[in-house]
Amino acid sequence: MTEPFEPKITAFVCNWCTYAGADLTGTSRIKYQSNVRVLRLPCTGRIDFMLLAKAFARGSDGVIVSGCHPNDCHYTSGNYHARRRWMIYRDLMDFMGIDTRRVTFSWVSAAEGARWAELVNEVTTSVRELGPYTEYKELALTGVE
């Protein structure tokens, strides 16, 4: 009997909004699915596109990138820079045939504990439906290294 597929979800979040928002989810005891692993960075501005690429290379089936809403960046504009970077990177991923449904960009503030739970649940469920990201995982297996 095969086990049902459990996706691996990696989340890159900023310290001040989404990480704090996820803390609030905890303090409010709102339950969500446990597939996600959160990496804390100071700001969305710090989230190098390569981190997303490496997350897939490490076998993530889905990636969440989240930070402060526009205007609310702790560092005032890190998220605006990040937004531009994602606008370009997402186009490039699509052009190269990478499945953009597997990357979710979002804004979750420190006050949006419930929203974080919702987001994680939605992403986990939709990626579970998409199935494992075999295409990308195979890349790491082919070739010389």
Binding site: F49, M50, A53, K54, A57, P70, N71, S77, Y80, H81, R83, R84, R85, W86, M87, I88, Y89, R90, D91, L92, D94, F95, M96, G97, I98, D99, T100, T104, F105, S106, W107, L119, E135, E138, L139, A140, T142, G143, V144, E145
Partner: protein, 263 residues
């Protein structure tokens, strides 16, 4: 008057230390020529077959050391010169662009900007054809297309070496702490290399196509950087190489930048 005569004059008068231009190579091809003495200027040719972007040489240490040099400049070359000025890699007083038929002296950033305003830019037919084909594909087909193309990459870095904007002394690819991208030529490493390169050229690529021309196995690798440049243009309304003032699309922003995918 033509490029040869102009170069001779410039060298004789000591206006420039060298002229970077093109000479005949094998089988009707053109190759770069570095002319330092006036009497060698008659080797120069400047015609339709001269495709390479000579701005690439301006950031080479040997060239930098020379002081002021003249460059036979096609429009892409001019754009690259401006972008290099914006990124503080080339000093305005150290370049004299020889544009048009090779006799139009453009000695300042402003002159280059004004000249460029008169040049139209169009995509070569072959690139158009591939892009049209890609645009008709679905995601899985695009993935298959690029995987097939990239599987041929031997990581010779000819694309990087030919690119006027790939002047970094220490490329992300050379990083080993951490080793962002696996070194060997291998499916994941190849994808990541070209992804890094495209992203690093977004907002900086002057769309000369040299990287694609340089590729020994014929991968249309320039289309990746073109794509990033196009999405910069469409979303932020700007293009690289338009000015010698830094206006890097990815280090500026507008609070009302519009996207449709952030939740």
């Amino acid at each position: 008057m033509d490029l040869r005569e102009k170069s001779r004059q410039l060298l004789e008068n000591g206006d420039v230390k060298a002229v970077i231009g093109y000479e005949r190579g094998t089988m009707g091809a053109r190759r770069p020529a570095f002319i330092r003495k006036a009497e060698r200027a008659d080797r120069l040719v400047f015609d339709e077959a001269c495709a390479q972007n000579l701005a690439t040489y301006l950031t080479r240490p040997e060239v930098r050391k020379l002081g002021r040099v003249a460059v036979a400049a096609r429009p892409d070359t001019l754009r690259a010169i401006l972008q290099l000025m914006a990124e503080r890699q080339v000093k305005e007083e150290n370049v004299l662009a020889l544009a048009g038929d090779g006799t139009v002296e453009l000695g300042t950033a402003q002159a280059i900007e004004e000249h460029l305003a008169t040049c139209a830019k169009e995509l070569p037919a072959r690139d158009r054809e591939i892009l049209d084909r890609l645009s008709r594909m679905d995601r899985a087909q695009r993935w298959a297309f690029w995987q097939a193309e990239l599987s041929r990459c031997v990581k010779c870095y000819a694309c990087r070496n030919s690119c006027p904007m790939c002047y970094c002394g220490h490329c992300t690819m050379d990083c080993n702490r951490p080793q962002w991208v696996p070194v060997a030529s291998h499916a994941l490493g190849n994808l990541e290399y070209h992804m890094v390169r495209a992203m690093h050229l977004a907002g900086r690529c002057v769309e000369c196509g040299d990287c694609g021309r340089a590729c020994p196995v014929g991968i249309p690798i320039h289309l990746l950087t073109f794509n990033c440049e196009e999405s910069v243009h469409l979303q932020f309304g700007q293009r690289a190489g338009a000015s010698s003032k830094l206006d890097y699309a990815l280090s500026t922003f507008r609070p009302d930048d519009k996207e449709s995918f952030i939740r």
